[in-house]
Amino acid sequence: MRNIRLYGQFIRVAVLGKVQYKADFLVGIVSVLILNAVNLSLIGILVYNFNTLGNWNIWDLLFLYSFWMLSRGIYGVFFWHLSDLEEMIVSGTFDAYLVRPASPFLQFIGKDISYTGVGDFLVGVLGFILAAAQIGLHWHIGQWVYFAICVLSGALIQVAINWIGASLCFWTTRSNAAMYITERFTVLMQQYPVNIFGRYFQIFVTCFLPVAFINYYPSVVLLGKAAEVQLWQYGAPVVAFLLLAIAAFIWSKGVKRYAGTGN
């Protein structure tokens, strides 16, 4: 499809632009590695002292964390710049997209690429290999396929959430502050098994801000962490699909509104 080809061209130019800053690339990767090392070390120290968190041991937690990193990495590389929308609306540079014969959303997501996602993905891969080895995972092909689908779904859920958050700028002009808070909150949630938190929290991160489907429920399913795995806990791909549909809807409404209010 033409749009895919166009997107490919956009990404090519974005990479071309980024490659110029070689020093940034290295420092960026290193700082992401440090950040994740810190996160993992903190969890590690806790478990070193306490042995388990609920019925999750250190390797289970590493699995959980790596799962998150894999999907976050994919999201980060291609969609990190969603928060740029606020600035583009405020300064009016978003208009340039509306004047060209191409989808504004395509142009927007094609405008940049981020290498910090590469660092996250790397951490995810390493962590997964280590955890899988220590836990002694032996999956059949079905589980591997489900795993891959859930990683992708996790990425798409993060895309959808941030897409919705960015689109709010069409109504409130500024939404980055709120998104930042949401991000910091969910970052905590992703690192721990959701079932240690109170009932209301669990409902919140399952039904309203479904970040639990990014890594927790797939991990429960794949590691067999619940005595009886419920059917809905398999639903990460469904959640991703629904959330994306909602996000696309909100975006298109937002663009219409942008045009109607004489920004």
Binding site: R5, Q9, F10, Q20, G92, D95, A96, L98, V99, G260
Partner: protein, 257 residues
């Protein structure tokens, strides 16, 4: 609204028969837009890469693309920056690059939004000549929004003045200046300072050292007549004819309604 960004709250808009907001894609293909203050080009990559990307977006066929590139790049003097990233260009070069970008797909209409703000005098003249040329050669309609009288004088055959949605004036430039820019100014620098004096058909508005400023009505006196009558009495060293500026003319326009 003409570029399809905004939707009219009432009434309708058509551009070349196309309704811009409802048929956004179609309209986008026939227009080119240059926002004077913000570039549409990609910041960190060589200019030619931005053009290649635009070729994809506008689906320009290779022949047209190459032809326009070969024509406009030398015309705008962009050979030296064609491989440079936009962030390394001066403002003048950037505006030229943006204009070239807007013309690659042979748009029927070119929107220029304050294109000469902050641009140096030499580049400005360059741009004026270029735009006139394009308009003449390709028949491209150029819609210019500007506060710069120089832009208007050099380029515009038709002037439309709009205030808060009301049409104040629609006609050619000369008539507008005749009607609403009737007061001109003549600055005379004398060999030596002279005292204030009265001149027929003109009014002394300012006196500073050996310079005096006289204002006069366009249809009541010509600069030559004034110079002759003044020069007879006092030796003149230097003069300047000051035309009414666009703000003044528009002000007169408003006041007259």
């Amino acid at each position: 609204m003409l570029s399809g960004i905004l939707q009219p709250t009432s009434g309708s808009v058509t551009v070349n028969g196309i309704r811009p907001f409802d048929q956004r894609m179609e309209n986008a293909r026939q227009i080119g837009v240059v926002f004077g203050q913000k570039t549409q080009l990609w910041w960190d990559v060589p200019l030619i890469e931005s053009y290649r990307l635009l070729k994809e977006i506008y689906r320009i066929d290779s022949d047209t693309y190459q032809k326009n590139l070969d024509r406009y790049v030398p015309m705008l003097g962009l050979e030296e920056v064609i491989n440079k990233p936009v962030r390394q260009m001066s403002l003048g070069q950037r505006v030229k690059s943006d204009i070239c970008a807007a013309l690659l797909h042979d748009p029927k209409i070119l929107f220029l939004d304050e294109p000469t703000i902050g641009v140096d005098v030499v580049s400005k003249k360059y741009l004026h000549d270029f735009i006139s040329e394009v308009n003449r050669e390709k028949g491209t309609t150029v819609l210019l929004t500007t506060h710069d009288m120089g832009d208007i004088e050099k380029l515009c055959s038709r002037v439309v003045v709009i205030d808060s949605g009301h049409l104040m004036y629609d006609g050619d430039l000369e008539s507008m200046v005749q009607k609403f820019g009737s007061v001109r100014s003549l600055m005379i620098e004398f060999e030596e300072p002279v005292g204030d004096f009265h001149v027929e058909n003109a009014q002394l508005t300012k006196s500073e050292g050996s310079r005096k400023w006289f204002s006069f009505q366009r249809d009541e006196a010509t600069p030559m007549e004034l110079l002759r009558s003044i020069g007879d009495k006092f030796p003149i060293k230097d003069i300047e004819i000051i035309e009414p500026d666009i703000e003044g003319i528009v002000r007169n326009l408003y006041e007259s309604k």
